[in-house]
Symmetry: C2
Subunit: 334 residues, 2 copies
Amino acid sequence: MDIITLAHGSGGKMTHELINNLFKKYFSNDILGQGDDSACLEFKAGRMAFTTDSFVVSPVFFKGGNIGKLAVCGTVNDLASAGAKPLYLSCGFIIEEGMPVEELERIVCSMGETAKECGVRIVTGDTKVVQKGAADKVFINTSGIGIIPEGVNVSGRNAKPGDKIIITGNMGDHGCSIFLEREKLDINAEISSDCAPMNKIVEDILNITMDIHVLRDPTRGGLATTLNEIAGQSGVGIKLNEDAIPVRQEVAGVCELLGMDPIYMANEGKMIIILPECHANDVLKALKSNKYGENAAIIGEVTDKPAGRVSIKTVTGGSRIVDMLVGDQLPRIC
Amino acid sequence: MDIITLAHGSGGKMTHELINNLFKKYFSNDILGQGDDSACLEFKAGRMAFTTDSFVVSPVFFKGGNIGKLAVCGTVNDLASAGAKPLYLSCGFIIEEGMPVEELERIVCSMGETAKECGVRIVTGDTKVVQKGAADKVFINTSGIGIIPEGVNVSGRNAKPGDKIIITGNMGDHGCSIFLEREKLDINAEISSDCAPMNKIVEDILNITMDIHVLRDPTRGGLATTLNEIAGQSGVGIKLNEDAIPVRQEVAGVCELLGMDPIYMANEGKMIIILPECHANDVLKALKSNKYGENAAIIGEVTDKPAGRVSIKTVTGGSRIVDMLVGDQLPRIC
């Protein structure tokens, strides 16, 4: 079998072969092996986080990752944003007829490896195949379940005036990398996607203090849009210092050339942390010793007003309002 | 806003408008309203079922339902197949740029109504938009979580020799309906999809006896493929009586005309029940008084051998092996 055919999505013999020869090879675990339509999971009493994301990134392979790695990291990071320890993932594939099996295998292999790094198990799945031209190569949905440790209460509604805002690293790497990859621009810049799981870094932070108010990964719409969401949910103002926001020099250069702003560019391996000032330096120090947090920085603070507004003190000393992303800077970034 | 644009999938302003004006209108519940990336759910200790399904049916509107109703029923039915009480759903939309908002609204409205009928809440979601031609109108993923009551132990691995096999109604309605709709065949047959939630019927059955061995909905690949899966999982034989299998006359007629077999046609509102003979008549009687079980019938039994094989006693008195679906009878049925 060299290419995916409609019969692989029929639910019949070829679907079973695909599941047994490909998916189970890379996602192997006891629960997935049971073969029922639902995975059966044991739980202790408590609070659970549940989330879903569909991935349609184009191209499916890019510097620093591929749609499979992204699909695992994206959902793991959404669970981590609730302060949860991610445990189980589902995955649903929608595949375009004619996709080379070798490409699918690289994607699935990458999902298996990333799940292993995160300590999550892919326990249930689904495969559909659509005719050539009815989808663009492959779309992946991952949904996830995690356990929220007792004492953790993290939400976009919890930002408080006086809180500090930390970002775990450079802004815009993912968006910029996808843009260069897709447009095949002849720009000589070594930029990779930052695609990475944030659950271990969140675990580290919560080990320092449970008194974390907000965690959120600034994906589509970037830092600016995500902070606007939080300002709206919490009914607070947010003030940023432009010169504190870490941006890789190459990303800043490409953005300037193309008239884009790194704070609106998508990230796939970064976390916004909003927390009481008293914990900010300890958390920052811990982040900097983690491979995914080397460039972490305190970039601003929460104010009581103007409620729902994000503003930025620019490098030149001025101040401007930073709105949500309007329109679409870059489609199919994730 | 008349049509869906790429900006609706940007994660920015228009995505938020779509969520607030459309999704929250029909999916309203406390948990979804919180606005975080993960839904936070309280759980008691116990066993949980977790499942996922992507829906790519074409056309998206058909007699008896649409892709939205199907997406809710499909995942609810997979949870019910584990004997679980479905509680929470996620939904992920992949929308083709240019889709009329009015069509999306009909689909979302239908999802809201079906979720209400099932007693489940849609608590988390995701929206992606891809360029015109990169998807076929709309694809929907639903993942779901349900609670498995104590004492229930239902699995495709549990069929035992001597067990009876019940099917809750007529075979092939969904597959046949989609086929007629898609091919616009000039056949004068009033056939609707059977798309319906099976969770209440499963609850009724488990109220009669917890001693149910297998539950499974015969969707893609139909009754024949699903029974082959179960025979394989349990290492048993299955013997069917062809003249006991309920098939609507119109469906039988269309299948004969087109050279298809109703036992390979997809169903979206039926359940296979495998249980000890001593409970079969009580369960059958209860099913017949349920609107989704009026045509229920005992269609065969489990044997010790040949292990993994399904055979059928034909109307003319012969016997033949019934294999899994090979190839693809009908793509994009769900």
